[in-house]
């Protein structure tokens, strides 16, 4: 909502200066978003005349225009507007001016070989309207050529952000009323001069009685024999200050009343109305041409104003061209109606129309302002354009009763924490337009019809503290008392996993939850794709099914910046369905490049699957799992290299699936065209980590250290080439875990001296007893047990 200080003072008797006023507006909840000074740049936009418009020699759609600001000097401007023509008065922006809409600063430029100095502007480029086809066509006189189009430059324009509940402040008077209520001056009474209204409104108006009739009242006044003209300068200045384009006195007056009293009106050319006005619901397929020059196809049950010929306009939203007024209009019908907010909102959403009237009706204007709006507008029209006005005709229920709300003053303290006196309550509420009945603690408050937002006692409490001031509320220090754990088990895992991966050299990334379907497809594992109905761009069109779908993009971007040895991780949601809750938190990590690049100490090598495996295992240990419970297998999924990836499950292959790890599939690397192609990934599924039944301090067994010497034995087995070493180690571990403390493979090789299809695996076993020093013969016995067990279960032989 835009106001000027001088306009405000037409309604508010206050000595406060502009700065004070702005401060007060913000403190009562009418937040001043910006103050625009109409100076400088806007001054440069001049009224200019096109003397000649010829086709551009090198472009069919462009014209070369001779433009003048003084009737003598000619400026060459290349213009693409179809309506650029000889004799047209329009707005010219010189080189150096900044176009308000695009913030583009103009320069002298060659356009298809012809030099163009400046630009001719459309309404949309100057933020005057959304009309972007063609340049502005002014109806100014020739003697105004060369003058600045934007006048009134001395005054600041105050831009107030009105919250959706405060429809009453979408008019200058409403803002003045609120300021007055807060003790900031007094509201000036509207002086009414009696109108001469000697005849009845001659056009029949009816509101059809259908089930979904959204027009509650339709007020009208017929004004005959007017001379519509350009608005006087006081009115024009106001219209320009609002950022609108002055059109004619009749149109400007309806706009003025809307911004002054928050009372939208509409003026029809009465001579174009076919017999009568019928307010009714539209039928599917009806259409009309609106004042924005667009043709709208209507659906069933949209509230329209019609005559015998068809639809004249959409009630409360936009009028039509068929009955639009012009400078030659002689007789007009002025409409002041009331439409239900929900219907306005629904219709304008379906048709995608946004107008100042719609904005007000959907928030709720005062249903009882019909007459007030007509009075002000008719008086102004008659004053400026002459003519004589009919009596007002009001169809429907014009008089809405005030709501009454019961307010217990004690409740103010209960909610706000401080007391308020009965006197203060009286003062604030009456200044806001409420009437108070009953003098006891429990009040009956009658709410004025313009405050559609107030419907229960809590709304009144808000009004009281808003005007009294939030600064009056005393604060109570919070108690430092914790009853519940701050984090639950899964939240702790989330937190720990971040720190765990960061401590392994990974940088934490945060990427969008949505991604490019083309990339996501490559990482999905059969989950259905979840499309976003209105994506922000076509490459962010689905919810991600894998944490890699975005992380991989950022890995690539960083590679493209020239960094190749990278480790990134993200902990975040992935989605497996479109219903709320069909998501899980996954820890994803990606590593690329080399270890020890350019090192004097050691030879550089590729990051490999055992690096990423180590990161997975160590992270799972950080998350509270026992290393001995981590079962590694070669189960994998299709985004990984089938031979260089695997899974970690809890305890056995059938246990909860904790993680995947491995090299990314070469096809994906190729598709995404990576610079550094050596890329490994890990995914940990936090939801599959079981919550321990008890805390570790409870579940941990007592530990007895052995006082006896440990012994080590090395074994070299010749075993089938494809037999998994992990399984072999497990066989040995499980022979006697009281004595076999550690099993570790330290060499694997094939080839020389090893039969075809076999490999040699060298394993070191640490043996220690809790209750004695093992003798040579004890150790031999255990060694034999190991060799025998391995042979029986795998067919491996011991190498001699």
């Amino acid at each position: 909502m835009i106001i000027t200080h001088s306009w405000l003072k037409e309604h508010l008797n206050s000595k406060a200066n502009e700065a004070k006023t702005i401060e007060q507006l913000t403190s009562i909840g009418l937040e001043v978003e910006g103050i625009k000074e109409n100076k400088g740049e806007l001054d440069e936009f001049k009224i200019a005349k096109i003397l000649k418009a010829e086709k551009h020699p090198n472009a069919d759609k462009l014209k070369v225009c001779d433009v003048t600001l003084d009737g003598k000097k000619i400026i060459k401007v290349v213009c693409g507007a179809p309506n650029a023509r000889e004799g047209l008065l329009t707005i010219y922006a010189p080189p150096g001016a900044t176009i308000p809409k695009s913030n583009f600063k103009l320069k002298v430029a060659k356009i298809r070989g012809i030099e163009s100095s400046g630009m001719l502007c459309s309404e949309s480029e100057l933020n005057l309207s959304t009309k972007s086809e063609g340049i502005i066509e002014l109806k100014n006189k020739d003697n105004e050529i060369g003058k600045s189009y934007f006048k009134n430059k001395a005054e600041k324009v105050i831009d107030i952000s009105i919250t959706p509940n405060r429809a009453d402040c979408l008019g200058v008077r409403g803002i003045a009323r609120d300021l007055a209520a807060s003790g900031f001056g007094s509201l000036i009474k509207i002086k009414k001069k009696p109108l001469k209204q000697n005849f009845t409104q001659p056009i029949k108006v009816s509101i059809s009685k259908s089930k979904n009739q959204d027009c509650l009242a339709f007020g009208s006044c017929y004004i005959k024999n007017i001379t519509n003209k350009e608005s006087p300068s006081w009115l024009k200045d106001k219209i320009i200050a609002l950022g609108l384009k002055p059109i004619s006195a009749v149109v400007d007056i309806t706009n003025y009343v809307m911004f002054d009293l928050n009372r939208p009106l509409h003026a029809y050319n009465a001579d174009k109305i076919n017999k009568e006005i019928v307010v009714r619901n539209s039928k599917l397929g009806e259409n009309f041409e609106a004042l924005d020059n667009k043709n709208y196809k209507l659906q069933d049950d949209m509230c329209v104003i019609s005559d015998k010929s068809g639809v004249l306009g959409l009630g409360g939203i936009i009028g039509g061209t068929s009955t639009s007024t012009g400078l030659d209009t002689k007789n007009i019908l002025l409409e002041s109606a009331y439409f239900l907010p929900a219907s306005i909102r629904k219709t304008s959403k379906v048709l995608n129309i946004n107008t100042d009237a719609k904005y007000r009706f959907e928030r709720g204007i005062d249903p009882n302002s019909i007459k007030e709006g007509l009075e002000l507008a008719v008086a102004l029209i008659v004053k400026i354009c002459g003519g004589s006005a009919s009596k007002f005709s009001i169809t429907g229920s014009a008089d809405q009763k005030n709501k009454t709300i019961t307010l217990d003053i004690e409740k103010f303290k209960k909610v706000v924490g401080i007391t308020i006196s009965r006197l203060e309550v009286n003062k604030i509420l009456t200044s806001l337009g409420c009437k108070i009945k009953n003098s006891k603690k429990i009040l009956k408050v009658e709410i004025p019809t313009w405050r559609t937002d107030i419907s229960q006692d809590i709304d009144l409490i808000e009004e009281l503290i808003r005007i009294k001031g939030f600064d009056k509320i005393e604060l109570i220090e919070p108690k430092k008392k914790r009853i519940k754990d701050t984090l639950n088990f899964s939240q702790k895992l989330f937190h720990l996993s971040q720190r765990a991966l960061a401590s392994k050299g990974y940088l934490e990334a945060i990427t969008w939850s949505f991604t490019d379907s083309k990339i996501d497809k490559q990482f999905a594992k059969g989950e259905t794709e979840i499309k976003i109905f209105n994506p922000i761009s076509s490459d962010l069109d689905v919810l991600r099914r894998s944490v890699f779908s975005n992380l991989i993009i950022y890995l690539k971007k960083n590679q493209d910046r020239g960094y190749e040895d990278l480790s990134f991780f993200e902990v975040g949601p992935v989605f497996f369905g479109k219903n709320p809750g069909e998501q899980q938190i996954v820890v994803g990590g990606l590593r690329s490049g080399l270890v020890s690049r350019k090192s004097w100490l050691e030879k550089s090598r590729n990051v490999d699957v055992f690096d990423i495996k180590s990161d997975v295992i160590r992270t799972l240990i950080d998350l509270g799992l026992e290393e001995s419970d981590l079962f590694v297998s070669d189960n994998t999924k299709n985004c990984y290299h089938p031979g260089r990836s695997g899974s970690v499950n809890l305890k056995s292959e059938k246990g909860p699936h904790l993680a995947y790890f491995g090299e990314l599939h070469p096809a994906i690397i190729k598709n995404l065209d990576f610079k550094e192609k050596n890329i490994f990934g890990l995914e940990i599924f936090l939801k599959n980590i079981p919550k321990p039944k008890e805390k570790a301090r409870v579940s941990k067994k007592n530990y007895i250290t052995s006082d006896f010497q440990k012994s080590e034995r090395d074994f070299a087995f010749v075993i089938d080439k494809f037999f998994k070493v992990g399984e072999l180690e497990n066989i040995i571990k499980t022979i006697d875990d009281n004595i076999i403390k550690k099993v570790i493979t330290f060499d694997v090789f094939e080839g020389q001296n090893i039969p075809e299809g076999k490999k040699s695996v060298a394993i070191n076993v640490v043996i220690q007893s809790q209750d004695k020093t093992l003798t040579e013969s004890d150790l031999d016995l255990i060694s034999q047990k190991i060799i025998k067990a391995v042979r029986e279960k795998t067919g491996a032989t011991i190498r001699s």
Binding site: T26, S27, G29, E31, P164, R166, P341, A342, R345, R363, K414, V415, V416, G417, Q456, I458, I461, E462, I465, F470, I473, E474, I476, P478, R482, K484, D485, T486, L487, N488, H495, R499, A502, S503, L507, E508, A509, I510, W512, S513, F514, K531, I532, F533, N534, I536, L540, Y554, N558, Y563, F568, F575, K578, P580, G581, Q583, S596, R597, S599, L601
Partner: protein, 355 residues
């Protein structure tokens, strides 16, 4: 006796010229070997006259001890100089670079979430969460924002279906609804999380992070709200005093509603939070609307309380002097290395929130 003196002097002469452990060994053999001079003297002991034997034996032992100790001393000397010479050869250039390593970092948003959780943990809030995909009911309707409410226009919503029943949550407030529907009052929760709006420019990202707070109990008033936020802001920005201003505003799900501004000034190009004559909008808050409580089957005459919401990314920007919101989600290696936090830098209240 003369023999012993000769032995002594001859030994002392010889040990002086010894240069290595090998020469020392030869010397040792010369005197203590099978037919060494000292050994021979011991052998001759029996031939000494009985009355002089005791005296001779004693002198001989003394000589032996003296020689032995000289040998030991020499050995130590030789070993020390040998080690020193070896160490001299072993000198390395320690200014050469170390084995390469990568420094992992925690994203500023995660760090700030941990800081916030730590602060609210002190005053008894626990962390709650909810899904990113929400129903239109939880995100809007239950929060007193029905379909026809113009406040819906303030949220540019991503929908998953044309009928607009399923969406990406535009704020963390639906977690209020989920929490209150699933549990019994009192409620004292904070909800950090991802939120989404169909809007992207210099100051807006289509995904951002919000923190929701909710405290519902008997007799919780705006005074508690003010105290809670005052405590939070001081703790978060790690300052003793904060100028704070409550400005009336409107949110459909709170009544009365306010926006909170904090004072700041610019000093040497950096923002100083807490004092100064400029105001910075930092969060929205209010008393939970009775209609919202009714929607979750809580009697507003028995229970009441406050809710607040703030942008986590913005808080991180303010606290750590980060200028560009979009950089948070560009995941540039250099930016993350620069603004990220060490994994061991876990915010705690005993060690301080930040380094």
């Amino acid at each position: 006796m003369i023999d012993l003196d000769n032995i002594n002097s001859s030994f002392e002469q010889k040990i002086k010229s010894v240069k290595s452990k090998e020469e020392l060994q030869i010397l040792k053999t010369e005197f203590f070997g099978k037919s060494g001079e000292i050994t021979n003297q011991f052998k001759s002991l029996t031939s000494v006259e009985a009355n002089k034997r005791k005296e001779f034996a004693s002198s001989l032992n003394k000589t032996k001890d003296s020689l032995t100790s000289q040998l030991e001393k020499k050995l130590l000397e030789l070993e020390t100089s040998e080690v020193n010479a070896k160490l001299k050869d072993e000198k390395l250039d320690v200014t050469l670079p170390v084995r390469s390593f990568q420094n992992g970092k925690i994203h500023p948003v995660s760090q700030v979430i941990d800081e916030i959780s730590s602060i609210f943990s002190e005053i008894g809030f626990s962390v709650a969460e909810g899904p990113d995909v929400e129903t239109e009911y939880n995100n809007f309707t239950a929060l007193n924002t029905p379909e026809e409410h113009p406040a819906r226009d303030m949220h540019d919503t991503f929908y998953l279906e044309e009928n607009k029943t399923i969406l990406l949550r535009t704020h963390t407030s639906p977690v209020q609804i989920r929490t209150m529907l699933n549990k019994k009052p009192p409620f004292k929760i904070i909800v950090p999380g991802r939120t989404y709006r169909c809007d992207s420019d210099q100051t807006h990202a289509p995904m951002f992070h919000q923190l929701e707070g909710l405290h519902i109990d008997k007799n919780i008033t705006m005074s508690h709200l003010k105290g809670c936020l005052d405590y939070f802001i001081k703790e978060f920005f790690e300052v003793k005093n904060v100028k704070m201003r409550f400005r009336p505003s409107h949110f459909p799900f709170t009544e009365p509603s306010a926006e909170v501004d904090i004072g700041y000034r610019i000093e040497n190009g950096k923002i100083v939070i807490g004092e100064g004559d400029k105001w910075l909008e930092i969060l929205g808050c209010g008393m939970v609307h009775p209609d919202v409580l009714r929607n979750v089957k809580i009697d507003p005459d028995k229970y009441q309380g406050f809710a607040f919401g703030m942008g986590i990314d913005r808080l991180a920007m303010l606290k750590y002097g980060i200028n560009d919101l979009r950089a948070f989600f560009e995941n540039d290696y250099r930016w993350l290395s620069h603004f990220g936090f060490d994994p061991l830098d876990v915010p705690t209240n005993y060690r301080g929130l930040s380094k």
